[in-house]
């Protein structure tokens, strides 16, 4: 029997690279072997001879012949990814972790709270929800970025609005052309009347923390708050220990957790 090697990536060709912001790009990949994933699952992206880093596909899981990944340049591996060119070959390992528990959202008002590049996995989720939109009572997206320039998927919000998603956006620092809200993303919570059913949050650590505290204060139940936890990862398959969060391994038990599952663990926001 041939060996099943979970550390071996599938080769993938970079078909297209789009600049989203000065430090975020979206990469479209065509994999040598198709990889089906559930929205919210992640992959390990290999740059040969450089390293690997985890990312959540930002494309819809219904699109099978290619995969999109949106990546912020944040350090060694991501800088190497940003210097890649269309036509280059990279490696993808996955799908890893558990996806969003869509079943638990059915029939409910789904609030999505996103910050910065945290919009990447949320885009995949949003596209999935839109594809089954009859199953959900209401879909809302509150998205925040540093400046208008830092907003990703700039041209796509209009399409999502057309699909019936209620969208509100804010930036920390506006400019003359910015007509929407100014302030951290949680200020948007004051603008909408909410049924407080389920909320999904993904963004930088500080935003995850204050986002969670805000929705708790509004009356969301801890078991209805879904958080994407970013922890250091190496193997992605529950073996190497790096992503430990209390007794969980974020790579295999997450990366999405209900706040109720992790609220008593020390240092979840660090």
């Amino acid at each position: 029997m041939p060996m099943v090697n979970p550390y071996k990536p599938v080769k993938a060709k970079l078909k297209k690279i789009v600049d989203e912001t000065p430090n975020i790009k979206t990469f479209t990949l065509v994999l040598e072997e198709q990889m089906e994933f559930k929205t919210g699952q992640f992959v390990q992206f290999t740059v040969p001879e450089v390293g690997e880093a985890p990312f959540t596909p930002s494309s819809s899981p219904y699109v099978k012949d290619q995969m999109e990944i949106t990546i912020m340049s944040a350090g060694r591996v991501t800088e190497a990814i940003h210097s890649l060119k269309e036509g280059d070959t990279v490696g993808i390992r996955g799908p890893l972790g558990k996806g969003y528990p869509l079943e638990e959202f059915k029939g409910k008002e789904v609030l999505i709270l996103g910050g910065g590049v945290g919009m990447a996995p949320l885009r995949s989720l949003l596209l999935t929800l839109i594809a089954q939109k009859k199953d959900f009572k209401r879909i809302l997206l509150l998205y925040g970025a540093k400046t208008p320039q830092d907003i990703i998927y700039k041209g796509q919000f209009a399409d999502w609005r057309k699909e019936g998603v209620e969208i509100h956006r804010s930036v920390d620092n506006g400019d003359e052309d910015w007509k929407e809200k100014v302030g951290v993303v949680t200020v948007l919570l004051d603008d909408v009347k909410l049924g407080k059913e389920v909320v999904i949050i993904c963004g930088p650590p500080i935003m995850m923390k204050f986002g969670t505290l805000s929705v708790l204060e509004m009356g969301y139940k801890p078991e209805n708050i879904y958080l994407s936890m970013e922890k250091n990862m190496s193997c992605g398959i529950g073996k190497c220990g790096h992503c430990a969060l209390g007794h969980y391994f974020v790579c295999k038990d997450g990366p999405v957790f209900k706040y109720s599952e992790i609220k008593d663990i020390e240092g979840i926001w660090d």
Partner: protein
């Protein structure tokens, strides 16, 4: 389990007959170290200076399919056997199976006959003799060894060497029991009944301060499993042992680090062994071998740390 007897003068013949690479403890001045057979060997004493995890899980390894040579490890002690079984759970169970961890290795364990000053297995409720997980276990008695057969592979090995073994007399089993009980009683101290759930770090602040983050404790631990992957060319990965005691171990891009401080890392190690591992793998991750005590550059006595943590 079925038992046999092998006399002292036949044991060497038996080990000579083992196929492939054989590793076995050798007695040095006041310690035991692993050697590749043929060599002088000893099945007496206590655990080796380094744990046997090296044989099962390489400290540095390219993760690609390769030829493997048949391997037998002889003389693994009870605490270390528990360590190997723990690692097997980590690497071989769950949604993903690691194909590089060697669970094909033949294990011939043996009872301890003496204690190292840092041994504390029995304080954790364990025994200084192997009870399960071996292919064969050797217990020293007068004139030879009681051989306990723990698996089909072990049984086959005994059958292949039929002429070397004889049946066990009831006195032999009685002697084994007496020797085992006597040794267990030699480990003195308060029982450590600890589930790691509540760790009052103020009780051990002075100890934690001595840690210099050298990571010796995790390297010599028979059950520590953490590793880091790196890239080779052609999409191959190389794996290195890693340690949660390194300050940058849990750092993420942007600089956030849930365990930047020394005390958080130390307590993570305590909790990993006693709280998280039982929840993750159904087994405690510390078996009382005391190597982390022997190896600690800061002079921290992990047994005393545990005793202080359970103190009322």
């Amino acid at each position: 389990m079925e038992t046999k007897f092998i006399s002292k003068d036949k044991i060497k013949q038996f080990i000579d007959n083992l196929e492939g690479d054989v590793f076995i403890p050798q007695e040095k001045e006041d310690f035991f170290s692993w050697q590749k057979y043929p060599c002088n060997f000893s099945l007496r004493g206590f655990r080796t200076i380094l744990p046997p995890k090296f044989f099962f899980y390489s400290p540095q390894e390219v993760l690609k399919e390769k030829e493997i040579v048949k391997r037998t490890v002889v003389g693994i002690k009870a605490c270390d056997l528990k360590g190997v079984l723990f690692l097997k759970k980590v690497f071989k169970e769950g949604d993903f199976v690691d194909p590089f961890f060697r669970d094909d290795i033949l294990i011939i364990s043996s009872d301890c006959t003496e204690l190292h000053k840092n041994c504390f297995c029995s304080l954790l409720g364990d025994n200084p003799y192997p009870e399960k997980g071996f292919d064969l276990n050797l217990s020293e008695v007068k004139d030879g060894f009681i051989v306990e057969i723990g698996s089909d592979r072990g049984k086959k090995l005994v059958e292949e060497n039929e002429g070397l073994f004889s049946s066990v007399e009831p006195e032999g089993l009685e002697e084994r029991k007496q020797r085992r009980d006597a040794l267990r009683k030699e480990i003195k101290g308060e029982k450590i009944d600890f589930d790691g759930k509540e760790v009052k770090s103020e009780k051990i602040t002075d100890e934690i301060k001595k840690c210099v983050s050298c990571t010796a404790c995790t390297i010599v631990c028979p059950s520590c499993f953490c590793f880091l992957l790196d890239e080779k060319s052609d999409f191959e990965k190389i794996r290195f042992w890693d340690s949660c005691q390194y300050p940058g171990y849990a750092r993420v891009a942007g600089g956030a680090n849930p365990r930047k401080e020394l005390d958080k890392r130390f307590i993570h190690r305590v909790k990993c062994k006693f709280e998280y591992s039982p929840e993750r793998f159904g087994s405690r991750g510390c078996f009382g071998c005391g190597r982390c005590i022997s190896g600690c550059l800061g002079g921290i006595n992990f047994k005393d740390v545990l005793l202080r943590l359970v103190e009322k």
